[in-house]
Each structure stands twice: as C-alpha cells, then as structure tokens.
Symmetry: C2
Subunit: 353 residues, 2 copies
Amino acid sequence: MKILKVLGTFALAAVLAISANAAEKKVKWKLAMTWGQTLSPFTDAVHGMADMVNKMSGGDFVITIDAANKHKAPFGVFDMVKLGQYDMAHSASYYWKGKDINTLPFTTMPFGMTAPEQYAWFYYGGGMELMQEAYAPHGILAFPGGNTGNQMGGWFRKEINSLEDLKGLKMRIPGFAGEVLAKLGLTVTNIAPGELYTSLERGTIDALEWVGPGMDIKMGFHKVAPYYYTGWHEPATELQFMVNQKNFDKLSDRNKEILRVAMRTAAYDMYIQNYHMSGDAWATMATEYPNIKIKTFPKEVMDAMKKANEDLLSDYAKDKPLLKKVLDSQKAYMLKSRVWTQMSDYLYLKDNL
Amino acid sequence: MKILKVLGTFALAAVLAISANAAEKKVKWKLAMTWGQTLSPFTDAVHGMADMVNKMSGGDFVITIDAANKHKAPFGVFDMVKLGQYDMAHSASYYWKGKDINTLPFTTMPFGMTAPEQYAWFYYGGGMELMQEAYAPHGILAFPGGNTGNQMGGWFRKEINSLEDLKGLKMRIPGFAGEVLAKLGLTVTNIAPGELYTSLERGTIDALEWVGPGMDIKMGFHKVAPYYYTGWHEPATELQFMVNQKNFDKLSDRNKEILRVAMRTAAYDMYIQNYHMSGDAWATMATEYPNIKIKTFPKEVMDAMKKANEDLLSDYAKDKPLLKKVLDSQKAYMLKSRVWTQMSDYLYLKDNL
C-alpha cells in the first residue's frame, strides 16, 4: 500500500512535470511582413516557411503572420524586430540603407552576382558571417528569405538609343539604382504601387521598373509601355528573414534547426517559384501583346551606368570599413565564380537558345 | 486513500503509456549510397540531410548511412530500397534505364534544362508528379537529391576541330551521352574511376568526362589532357533520394515533413556547394596549369550530337507512352522557360563577363 502511495505521488509528479514541459514547449511567434496580404511569390515564401515550421514541430512552434495592413508599418519592421515587438520579419536588407549603410549589400548590387553565385557567396563564401556582423549591433539575426532572380530593367514608353535619350526622362526606380540613374540625368521618383499604371499610361512618368514578368504581368505595364529592358541593377534580389536574437536564443536546439531549415528551403523555393512564374507570365504577355520588344541598353548607356555605380559605391564606402569589407568580398567572389558561370551555363546557353 | 490508489494506478498507466509512446516514436532508418565514403559534394548532401532530420526531430528520427564499401552494391540500391532492405537510397535516376526506361529522364538530358529551369519543372511544372508516376510501379518515392549544375564535356588530349577528329577516338563516357557519341563514330568505354588517370596519361583512352572542376581537380586529368570542353550532355544533373513507399507511409506526419524538407534543402544546398567548389577549383587549376584551354565543340560537331540525340530519343520513346509523356513535358517546359533564361541571366551575363 505504502509502495503504491509513494509510486502514486511520484507518478503524479511525473505527469505534472510532463504536462508542464508540454505547455512550456509550445512556442508562439509573430512575424511582420513588409508586404500586403498577398504578393506572390514573396508572401508564399513566408507562408511556406511558417507551414514547414508548424508541421515539422508537430504544432509545437507556431508562427502567425501579420501583413502590412495589420501592423501599418511596412518599413517599420526592422525596428519592431529590433525592439522585440515582433519575433521576426520578412523584408529586404537594402531598405535599411538609411538606418545602417552596412545592411545595403545583402539584397543585391547593380552589376553584381547572379542567384547561384550569390547563394554560393552566402553559404560557402563568407557572406552569412558578414551579414551577421552587419546586423549584430541591432540584436538581429538575418537569413536569406527568397530570391527573385534577375530583375528586368523596366518598362519604357520610348526606345533608348543613346545616353541623350535618357536625359530628363522621368522614371520610377527606388533605392540605389535610382541614385545611379539620377547621375545619368534622369529625374527619379517614387510612386505608390496603386498609382503606377495610371502614371505610366498618362505619361506622368516615362518609365518604371518593377520586378520581372511573373510579378509585372498583374500590373499591366506591358499594355502601355512596349519597350521592356533587360536588367543590370538587381541581378539576384535576395529578401531577408530578420529574427530577434534574444528570442532566437531562447528556442530549443530542435526549434532553432527547424526554423533555420524552413527559412532556407523557403528562400530557395521562392527563387524557383519566381523562375517558373516569370517563364509562364512572359509566354502569356508575348502572345497577347506581340508588340512588346525586349531590349538591352546600348553600350554607351551600360558603360555610363557601370561608371556611375562604381563612383557611388566608392563614395559610400569611404570611411566605412565594414561596408568596404563586404563590397570587396562580394567583388572578389563574383570575379572568381563568374568564370565558372561563363564556362558552364553561359557557354551552354549560347549554343542552345 | 482510495482516490490516491486510483490516481496512482492511472498515473502509473499514464507514465507507462508515455514511455511506450516515446519508445515507439524513435524511428531508425538505413540509407544506402551508390557512392563511397567521401565523394564531396554528393556525400555531403546525404550527411547534411540526415543531420537535419536528426536535429529537427530532436533525435527521434535517426538515419544511418551505408557507403558502397559497406553494402557492396553501388548499383543494387534501387532493388534494396524496392525490397525494403534499406529504407532509402541516394543515387541517380538515369542509372536505372536498363531496369525501367521511364526513370531515365529525371536526372538530366543532353541539350536539356539548366538547374533553375529543371527545379522549376520539378516543383512547379509537373515534374515531381511524373517522377512519382515512373517510380510507383516499384513501390518507391523519388525526390530531387542534389544538382551538380552544368557538367563539363570532358578532358581531351587533342583539340577537336571537326567531326572527322572525333572518329575513332576512344572516350570514357557512360550512359546516354555515350550512346550519342557512339553514333558519331567514337569508341565509347567505361573504366573504373581509380584507373582513369593512368588510362588518360598513357593514351589507353583519348578523352574522358567526369563532372566539373570542383570534382575533377582531385582526379588530376588537367595535368595530362589540356583541352577542357564545355558541356552539352548533362546541363543539370540531379541526383535522387529514393524512399521505400511502405516505410514512408508508416512515418508520423511530422517525420514525413521533416524528411521531405531535409531532402529538399540538402538537394538545393548541393547545387550551391558544387557551384562554389567549381569556381574555386577552376581558379586553382587555371593558375597552376595555365596551358589548360577551355573549348566549345565546333558547330558541326554540336549539330551532329543534337541530331544523334533526337534520333536516339525518338527510338527510345517509341511505344513507351510514359517516357514520351515525360520527354514531351520536359521539352515544352524547357522551350517556355528558356526564353526567360535568355531575357534574364543570359543577356545580363553577355554584358558582364
């Protein structure tokens, strides 16, 4: 009897301990996106990641997702993660150049690496370590969050045959690429996405860049600006998952790995999904609007953009040792891996277009 | 007292149930590789996958890995998985063309898709469903298992300037590509990896193909055959994880997802790792052996290979409806996505080499 009593007490304690452990194990996280509710494939990457985390943890680690219309601060997500108001966010590193210039190079750089080159730099060429160094002062861990692949140079109402044709042109193109084009004499502006089509149709702007066929098709730009220029400014735009370091440290080893692997897969998947969407959308556009013309900028324009880009970068990097270290690392890696890209995919494609 | 007794019994039962459940939850799987102990990056992909599964399951799902020197049957892994002697394997689908021709196209095809095009076909263009259809009769589930990227066309002791130069040449090149070259008058042979270097050095063979710089460098071929031809026959070689369907069905939903995601990440990672290794190894080779020459086959050779390839494929596909369905699906997908590849990466690279 006594034995049973003791056993009973022990067993009861064990049961209580187990259920306490189970309750403690449940992790509920909140993620803020820079994007609205549905912006495929960006939002698919986020939902895909949260889904994998949920399933792989057997429901013990749940991430709820707030779109910009909920938290009202698309570009406030950096600070919200830094302050721990959200456990994590999905956005793009180059949006924070005004807050901390060292975060600029981790999305993409004009005339920079292609997607496989850049993933190789991140995962095997020291890029991840440099990204952590840039985000550490903010108590944030950053991870690749999905690549758009090569972005198109934009939709133009008129053909560009010379540098002269660009002068005075009004173009919507944000960020660093906008600064490069401003150096070439364009008037660079930013316009809310909902007003872009009308602005282009009415000639309020002469040109704009968005992403690529997969995401551009819904915007309808091809109906009003027939010259579609190939890309130079965002050869492999990688989005980022940003994670509050303190909250990450509190996760069990198992949940850390689940989160790491889910983010990594979701990022790669987005690259592949956007590749698919772009091929598909372009086939539709080209069939329905046979007057769209694919153009590359003339050599004198390309050379001027390259020079403006180099000048701007060395201005930026002046007295900024970490930024310089990152840019130098990217350049050295690109030079080495580009030789392989040329030997492999480029020369293969040259004979198989 | 009575209450405690009942509670004790209940609690005891609960404890027993919980530990039984924990014991039951432990899953131990065995994987057979076609490869030896270390063949980077192939074996890294397998170990990476097993590591992720282990960590993400908190040690509840453990996969032990047997290399070919253990199970003694590099090309027996298909049957071992089919019969359930191993739960899963890591190999390449095109090795099974003699067993079931329908499995041929899921690794790579001459003049076929590049890596991002092929991943897009697998995951968003119907490829996965077709691969399951091909493997279903064998009770096997197949998943992408890592991509080498574009493989080089091989090392040649002499330069190839015409179709005539190829006639009578003795070359080590296995599989489908070997059949294509046999049609062009080459003597095609297979030689064990350990004897390849000596065979090439002594002129027993005039040429051979292996993979690409990252894996070729350790073999030393560049020291004895200076002409390194670009690829045509394996533009995106995807390895496969093969899983016994019945054993997979017995996994919990959580473990199914853990396995699926770990395989998917490991596959993408291998593509990126080999990209890195290739860029790195080529830089080393080119510095140490400046006499190595990168060559593409002349147009008349390329055209003859394309024709031989088409002829062989239509021979193979005759009266084989599933094979025909897969080849047609790949061709249609490639035509659509290649236009995007050209607009994006190809035209970008053209101006940035």
